[in-house]
Structure formats: structure tokens, C-alpha cells
């Protein structure tokens, strides 16, 4: 009996019942051509197994720390002590400006919505940028694998001129918002230097140029990666220059080292 091609494959995969496998083995012993085909299949199977290239992949950090009762108790005591100390001295940390909460709301609404992506072409970009006023800077974050997927004017409460919401979307669940806010007289000013505001998993970087305030917000993004993006965009917004080769490489490598975003 000459085993079928299917049977020969199943034999090589060790998937035949004992009796049938023995029958195939006898046939192979008696037929050199058939034995050669079985050998080719075995070689093919091994080559497919070995065809996977070795690669180093950074694993995400554990999302849930393993709480132990002692550590929890220590945290509670520490929090209490810090609370008492803080209550006794005047607060000198950065004041949360009113527009920060509004900007976060815009970002949250975007990342939690199922809105279709804006098809951003050159014409739309120019027209929308015009609304944000002269001097607005729109960075290209493609070196960090973040593509422009939203460009919309948004009204922030208490502001006459619309701000610009620029949304960037990555390939691993990352969404970054950049809000470009025209400067307004009598408003709480944006800080001149790059300033970080944390709010749970969301991190917001704020700074200003002569004509605009900028807020860069992301949720669940690798902190080192977001920090590099914020510093890069801030510098570029002041200089109004595209990223240099070194910066592009740094952004790409930072992204490769980072873990995917968590919602």
C-alpha cells in the first residue's frame, strides 16, 4: 500500500495511530522513493521551525503590583505623615491652571470615542492651522511611529480664539494629543519652561512659545518615551525647525525600547 500525501504528512507529524504508523513505516522501508519524500518532509518541517528569526522583544512591566499587607500599611502611614507635613507649610507646587482640565477633557473625549479618523491633507492642514493663528507649530511625529489622525479646532471655555487639537495615533494603542492654544491677554499663562502635570495614567506636558501655549497629553504611555517626545516637540516649537537625523533616530529607538500603551 502506498500511503497518500496526507497520510505521509501526518506520519511525519507523528499524528497517526500506532497501527497506521507501523504500516507507513513498512511501506517506507520497501520504497526508496517514498522514503525520500518522507525525508524531504521531515527536512521541510525542521526548516519551517528554524525559519523564525531570533529577536529581542521588550515585555511590558507588570500592570498590577503584588500588594503585600505590610507594604500597604507602610504606605498608609507614609501618606499620613506626608499629609500632616504638607498641611503645615504653604503649598508652593505648580497651580493647576483652569485650561489644563479642559485640555484633558478634550484628550479623554478623543481617546474614548469611536470617531473616524480625520483625513488630513495639505489643504485641510493649512486651513486649520490658520485658525490657530500665526506661529503655531505642528510637529511630524512619524519618527516615533505616531501618525497624524486628528486635526480639529476646539473651543476651550473662556477663550475667544479656538485652540487646535492635534491627535497622533501609534501602532500599539498609543494616542497622543497636542493642544495648541493661542495666547490670550489676561489669561493664566502657560509656563515658559516644559512642565509636567501628572493625573493618574495621564501625563500632560505644558509650555509656551511667544504666540501659543502647548499641551502634550498621553494616557498610559511609556514615561521615558513621552518625556523625549515632549522635550523634542518643545524645542522644535521654539525653533520652528524639523527634527534632525539624530533626533529622529532617538525617537525611533525610544519607541523600540518602550512598551505599548495602556488605556
Amino acid at each position: 500500500m502506498i500511503p497518500s500525501w496526507e497520510t505521509l504528512n501526518a506520519y511525519v507529524d507523528g499524528e497517526l495511530p500506532t497501527v497506521e504508523a507501523a504500516t507507513v513505516a513498512r511501506a517506507l522501508a520497501e520504497d526508496r522513493v517514498l522514503a525520500g519524500r518522507a525525508a524531504s518532509l521531515t527536512r521541510l518541517k525542521a526548516a519551517v521551525q528554524e525559519s523564525v528569526e531570533a529577536i529581542e522583544i521588550a515585555l511590558p512591566r507588570p500592570s498590577r503590583p503584588s500588594w503585600r499587607p505590610l507594604a500597604l500599611a507602610a504606605s498608609v502611614v507614609l501618606a499620613f505623615v506626608i499629609g500632616v507635613l504638607v498641611a503645615q507649610v504653604p503649598w508652593q507646587g505648580p497651580v493647576q491652571p483652569p485650561w489644563l482640565a479642559d485640555a484633558r477633557a478634550v484628550h479623554t473625549a478623543w481617546i474614548t470615542s469611536d470617531q473616524a479618523e480625520t483625513a488630513v491633507d495639505g489643504g485641510l492642514m493649512l486651513a486649520t492651522m490658520h485658525k490657530a493663528g500665526p506661529g503655531a507649530y505642528l510637529p511630524d511625529l512619524s519618527p516615533s511611529k505616531l501618525r497624524l489622525s486628528r486635526l480639529e479646532p476646539v473651543r476651550l471655555p473662556g477663550r475667544e480664539r479656538p485652540a487646535l487639537h492635534v491627535g497622533y495615533r501609534g501602532t500599539r494603542g498609543c494616542q497622543v494629543s497636542l493642544l495648541i492654544v493661542p495666547a490670550a491677554a489676561g489669561d493664566t499663562p502657560f509656563p515658559r519652561d516644559l512642565t509636567l502635570h501628572d493625573a493618574g495614567p495621564s501625563h500632560g506636558y505644558v509650555w509656551r512659545t511667544r504666540s501659543h501655549g502647548y499641551l502634550l497629553i498621553a494616557t498610559g504611555m511609556d514615561e521615558a518615551r513621552l518625556d523625549l517626545i515632549a522635550r523634542t516637540v518643545q524645542r522644535a516649537s521654539l525653533e520652528h525647525s524639523p527634527f534632525g537625523q539624530e533626533t529622529r533616530t532617538a525617537l525611533r529607538e525610544s519607541r523600540e525600547r518602550s512598551v505599548p500603551c495602556r488605556g
Binding site: 500525501w5 496526507e6 505521509l8 504528512n9 501526518a10 507529524d13 499524528e15 522513493v33 525520500g36 519524500r37 525525508a39 524531504s40 518532509l41 527536512r43 521541510l44 518541517k45 526548516a47 519551517v48 521551525q49 528554524e50 525559519s51 523564525v52 528569526e53 531570533a54 529577536i55 522583544i57 521588550a58 515585555l59 511590558p60 507588570p62 500592570s63 498590577r64 503584588s66 501602532t171 500599539r172 494603542g173 512598551v259 505599548p260 495602556r262
Partner: protein, 184 residues
């Protein structure tokens, strides 16, 4: 199968996934046909697995669970990006006539296989990756794909035949005739 027995946590969860990273990457490559996208898929899959509240204790169930996360992540991304995906159940290529392949098996190497795999249909790549890269048995692959064991057996044999044909075709290419030769 979920959550029974003592569930590994923290670092041991990492170690457990690390044992599968190579195979996850191989399967991701066969699904996406793109190395960078494959890396992203594996990271996404690992993130979901590490964040899961319940993890299969049994190793075979864990493996199937892990690869299902990867496959579902791939399909979700395709859907989210509005990309057209032919799917895994498309009609088998018609050039396979069931003839047993006969060719010099010295042509079969890791390099020729890598090239040959890129010529296969999604269905063939899928089943070959599951059996030969991931190491599923036919029965495990059948449960994973939701098809009878006989279908897996048939797909594996046809996929290997298609792969061998692709390897053969890649290696027997007529040399291009130069214009000078034609002129003569």
C-alpha cells in the same frame, strides 16, 4: 481551565511568557507578513496576557490561550484600521492538483523556506505556523481554528505541497536573455 491551580504572578508571569516569545513572534510574522507589525502584535499580546485577571494554569491551555490572544489582537487591528483581510478560510489555491511533490530536497533550507512562506496563502501560512512553529497537534489546531481534525490534516498537507512548489519555483528561474543575445 481558567484560573485553576496556583496561578503564577509577577516575575513568574513574565518568565512564563518569555518561553513563548520566539514562537509568538513567528506566528505574528506569519499573520502580519511584517516584522515590525509582528513585534507590536507580540507586545500587545504580552500586555494583555500580563494584565489578565485569570490565566490558565495548565501549560497546553495556557499556550492555546496566549496564541488566541495574539490572533484576536491581529484580527481586531485589521478591523479597527478598516483593512480588508481575505481571511483564513479562503478558497485553496487552484494550482495544487494533489500530485505528490518530487524535487531535489537539497533546495529545502531555512532561507528558501522563508522566501517560500511569503508566497503562501493566509490559510496555508496559518496552519503551517500553528503546526510547525507553535507546535500544536492536529487536535489542538482543530480546536484553535474551529474546524475538524480532518480539515487540519488536509490543510497541512496542501500547505506543505504549496510551500515545496514555491521553493521549487523560486529556485528554477530561467536566466533572462540580454538584448545582445536576442540580437544575435
Amino acid at each position: 481551565m481558567l484560573g485553576r491551580g496556583k496561578e503564577p504572578a509577577g516575575a513568574s508571569r513574565h518568565r512564563r511568557i518569555e518561553a513563548y516569545l520566539g514562537r509568538l513572534y513567528g506566528y505574528a510574522c506569519s499573520l502580519s507578513e511584517d516584522r515590525e507589525a509582528a513585534q507590536d502584535l507580540v507586545q500587545d499580546c504580552a500586555l494583555k496576557a500580563l494584565s489578565a485577571t485569570r490565566v490558565p494554569y495548565d501549560e497546553a491551555a495556557y499556550r492555546a490561550w496566549l496564541f488566541r490572544i495574539l490572533r484576536n489582537t491581529f484580527l481586531d487591528r485589521r478591523k479597527r484600521n478598516g483593512e480588508v483581510f481575505i481571511g483564513f478560510d479562503e478558497t485553496e489555491p487552484t494550482n495544487l492538483n494533489g500530485e505528490i511533490w518530487h524535487c531535489d530536497d537539497r533546495l529545502v533550507s531555512v532561507l528558501t523556506v522563508r522566501i517560500g512562506i511569503t508566497k503562501l496563502s493566509a490559510s496555508h501560512r496559518d496552519v503551517l505556523a500553528l503546526i510547525d512553529m507553535v507546535g500544536f497537534s492536529y487536535a489542538e489546531a482543530a480546536v484553535f481554528l474551529g474546524v475538524p481534525v480532518g480539515t487540519v490534516m488536509s490543510r497541512v498537507s496542501r500547505a506543505r505541497q504549496a510551500l515545496l512548489m514555491a521553493i521549487q519555483e523560486n529556485n528554477v528561474q530561467p536566466l533572462p536573455q540580454s538584448s545582445k543575445q536576442v540580437a544575435k
